[in-house]
């Protein structure tokens, strides 16, 4: 963490937003502060910190409900959205989130920058920093790229998805959506099934940390070739105090039976070429989330999908559009969660600045100031 010296962080300009005093919306947040300069994954984020994100997201959602959904929280802060992979949903979600907070947003798509001329990731990060970015949202096809960026950036890195490794903002928006929709907002003991290409899924990996932390009865379900290695992870977790347990199975019937939540994952077509699956048809027939299979779950079960969907493959169109589908909520909440994350990280990128690091957080009222 060479670039992470406290001195450098402390000498950074203070974000104006955090000079605005914040009023706490919920007494429960007293004492919990956001201590992470970067958000790379959820493996080391504590449950009280996750709850802080949830409360801050709630405040942001209230902001989004206003006629003019824009607050000055990040005015003057440079946020660079650096995407090395094609993405519409996540990139736009971050962009809208940053603009709603009045940040100065720069979008870099790898194909249109010097990245395509062979510039290294580290050089790109340094260039973006020199151009004034205080926060970088990075999406990259290689696992660990966000960690590498964090080592070479004096501001905050928000991982927008790295390889198969992590997609923390997606897991947090999934959690927020579930807490909104599950009766009582408590996931303890709720059976949640992540269904599909777990092996290549950063969404599944990040969700393992957050959903087990929430106390859910988490199941992963996929054909054996798309879940290789997770049996061992499940076995290892079962033996460690403080680590959430989860189950893995390739038996979709056992997985879906009495489920409270089913999260279908996107199936990439290149998995067939890699010899992992016989055919799309067979996958759809055996692991697609159909109305028939949905009936195995509890009558009030919720359906999720991180998008983009292959309708008719991992999820039937009637299930995607089902009244119990919360897929649209996920998209909407994505903006609020990302506003919350940008806001919380902005409070840590500048040591000693007010805001999230200084104490109680999350008031829509103050954000309106």
């Amino acid at each position: 963490m060479t670039a992470a010296s406290p001195d450098r962080a402390a000498s950074a300009p203070v974000a104006t937003a955090h000079q605005v005093p914040l009023v706490d919306a919920e007494p429960a947040s007293q004492g919990t502060t956001w201590a992470h300069r970067h958000l790379l994954d959820l493996d080391r984020v504590t449950w009280p910190e996750i709850e802080l994100v949830m409360r801050t997201t709630q405040a942001m959602k209230e902001v989004l409900g206003r006629p003019i959904a824009r607050v000055p929280a990040l005015r003057g802060s440079g946020v660079t959205i650096l995407f090395y992979e094609a993405s519409t949903r996540t990139r736009v979600s971050f962009e809208v989130a940053a603009k709603n907070l009045s940040a100065d947003v720069v979008n870099i798509a790898a194909a249109s920058s010097s990245v395509s001329k062979g510039e290294s990731l580290i050089d790109t990060i340094r260039t973006v920093e020199a151009l004034g970015a205080r926060m970088i949202v990075i999406r990259h096809p290689t696992s660990g790229a966000a960690d590498l960026a964090a080592e070479h950036f004096s501001g905050s890195i928000l991982n927008g998805g790295d390889g198969w490794h992590a997609h923390p903002s997606q897991a947090l928006l999934d959690l927020f959506t579930l807490r909104e929709r599950v009766p009582g907002g408590d996931l303890h003991g709720r059976k949640i099934v992540i269904l599909g290409d777990v092996l290549h899924s950063r969404v599944a990996r990040s969700n393992i940390w957050s959903l087990t932390a929430a106390g859910a009865d988490l199941w992963l379900c996929a054909p054996a070739t798309l879940m290789r290695g997770f049996e061992r992870w499940a076995a290892a977790s079962a033996g460690v105090p403080g680590h959430g347990r989860f189950q893995v199975t390739s038996d979709i019937g056992a997985a879906l039976r009495d489920a409270d939540v089913i999260m279908a994952l996107r199936l990439q077509r290149e998995r067939m070429a890699a010899g992992l699956l016989p055919s799309l048809r067979e996958y759809a027939a055996r692991y697609g989330l159909t109305l028939e299979r949905l009936a195995l779950a509890r009558p009030d079960a919720l359906v999720m999908h991180p998008g983009p969907m292959n309708e008719g493959i991992e999820i039937a169109p009637e299930v995607a559009d089902h009244p119990r589908s919360v897929i649209t909520d996920q998209v909407t909440n994505g903006v609020a969660v990302r506003m919350a994350l940008l806001y919380l990280l902005a409070g840590t990128g500048v040591a000693g600045a007010g805001g999230a690091a200084a104490g109680p957080t999350g008031a829509a009222e103050a954000l309106g100031g």
């Binding site: 990731l121 290689t142 696992s143 660990g144 960690d147 198969w164 490794h165 997770f230 061992r232 992870w233």
Partner: protein
């Protein structure tokens, strides 16, 4: 104990007079260990005196030890072609700092060492380096290491090639392996195989297991090593009927499965040998997640509960074959203890900063390890996992036996009359591994920042000064 050396200073200079009194001598070549004294005059071991119990009272194996010069069967010196990463001169300086007086360079240079002309250039670079460290060189088994047709094995052998290898890449074709074993066997040279199934390792980034799964890295299966080892043994058994001199050596084995195959093949009398590296026996894939515990310190708790003291995805840990889990690491150590593994090699693989300062999945494979090898082994000795004499044997008598079978006359041990070829190590001292303390141009060591036990005080090769602290 005392070391007095006369007129030292310049690397390569003949040692006029050297006296080492009351040190712990370990000579696996003579199969002897104990307190003793050594006198070197004009580059020769003039006297080697073993002290009896009364005379040697107070001389401990935990103090200054004197051992024969180390032999490394597997290094990459990068010349010609990759001189930014290492040169023959810098590599030999690094070897001497690590206590090595003989190193065997792999031919995966650019161009590959696949004909006598390039072979001669590499030897000439060693000669002009001024280093007394002996450089032995493998010839490529196939032209351009492309695995398609046999390289000029006879001419390379005449030029002095100590064996043949396409290391860095496996020998894909079973036919080439069979013919290579036959032809090299006829020449009295071993084939050194880097056992890897390229179909199973396509895109692979880390040992297939818990760490790779959690970190989202593509798994590198155990079967990618054990499969080709099994195939190689089957082919060797076949070839022996026609060419009894055929010999197969598997380098840098990293898995219990592959080592078990070799163990059984040796028991059945096949002329097979193998080596393991310090990093595969002492480090684990848990380091990629941020652990810095030696393999033998990992207890029964699964990794998820273990301490992570460093950041994840450190590219200095990216190596081929990959760091395995603690069970495979323990199997490498066990193979050393029971003789399944004949030698420890460093697979010294220096890389430039540019080739490592990238995403984990894009980083070059390899660890710059020749200067830290003895320290890592001594850490295992200090932890009571490895007897001192076995550790030294793995760097001296073990590799020497393999080279002698290929016609090399060196490594005579601590015997009077021989050219002095020895290392003096103070086991009571540690040293800090830092970029600046490494003589290699490759600073790609996962041990940077770590104190290692056993400081090399003096390396003498062929009666000449190779390294002095």
């Amino acid at each position: 104990m005392g070391v007095t050396i006369d007129g030292s200073g310049a690397i390569g200079r003949r040692i006029a007079d050297l006296e080492i009194s009351r040190a712990w001598l370990v000579d696996p070549i003579a199969d002897r260990e104990g307190p003793g004294e050594i006198v070197v005059h004009d580059g020769r071991l003039e006297a080697v005196t073993w002290l009896d119990a009364a005379e040697g009272a107070g001389v401990e194996p935990g103090g200054v030890i004197v051992v024969p010069g180390f032999i490394d069967l597997h290094v990459h010196l990068r010349e010609p072609g990759f001189e930014d990463a290492e040169t023959v001169a810098s590599g030999l300086a690094a070897a001497a700092h690590g206590g090595f007086t003989t190193v065997c360079a792999m031919p995966n240079t650019e161009p590959a060492i696949d004909d006598a002309g390039i072979f001669g250039r590499v030897l000439a670079a060693a000669g002009s380096s001024g280093s007394p460290v002996e450089l032995l060189v493998y010839g490529a088994l196939t032209v351009g290491r492309r695995g398609e047709s046999l390289a000029a094995l006879g001419e390379l052998s005449d030029a002095g090639a100590i064996g043949f290898s396409d290391d860095g890449a496996p020998i894909r074709s079973a036919t080439i392996l069979r013919n290579g074993l036959l032809y090299a066997g006829m020449l009295g040279r071993p084939v050194v195989d880097h056992a890897e199934d390229p179909a199973l390792t396509e895109g692979a980034e880390a040992n297939e297991g818990l760490v790779a799964t959690v970190l989202g890295l593509k798994g590198w299966p155990v079967a990618a090593e054990s499969g080709p080892v099994g195939r190689g043994l089957a082919i060797l058994a076949d070839v022996l009927r026609d060419e009894p001199r055929a010999r197969l050596h598997f380098t840098h084995l990293s898995t219990a499965a592959a080592l078990d195959l070799v163990r059984r093949a040796k028991a059945a009398g096949l002329p097979v040998s193998c080596d393991v590296t310090p990093h595969h026996l002492a480090l684990t894939d848990e380091w990629i997640a941020g652990s810095r515990a030696w393999a033998w310190q990992s207890d029964a708790d699964p990794w998820l509960g273990a301490a992570r003291v460093a950041g994840p995805y450190d590219t200095s840990l990216r190596v081929n074959p990959p760091l395995r889990d603690r069970f495979d690491a323990a199997a490498c150590l066990a193979a050393l203890l029971d003789g399944t593994a004949d030698a420890v090699v460093t697979d010294h693989a220096p890389h430039t900063r540019v080739d490592k300062a990238v995403e984990f999945g894009l980083a070059a494979n390899g660890i710059s390890g020749i200067e830290t090898a003895i320290g890592v082994l001594l850490a295992a000795v200090d932890a009571d996992r490895l007897p001192l004499r076995r550790a030294i044997a793995a760097l001296t008598s073990g590799p020497a036996a393999i080279l002698r079978a290929a016609g090399w006359p060196g490594a005579r041990g601590l015997v009077e009359g021989a050219p002095a070829d020895l290392v003096v190590i103070d086991r009571s001292e540690t040293w800090l591994v830092e970029a600046a303390s490494l003589r290699s141009k490759g600073k790609n060591s996962p041990l940077l920042g770590r104190e290692l036990p056993g400081r090399v005080l003096l390396t003498v090769a062929d009666g000449r000064l190779a390294y002095e602290a």
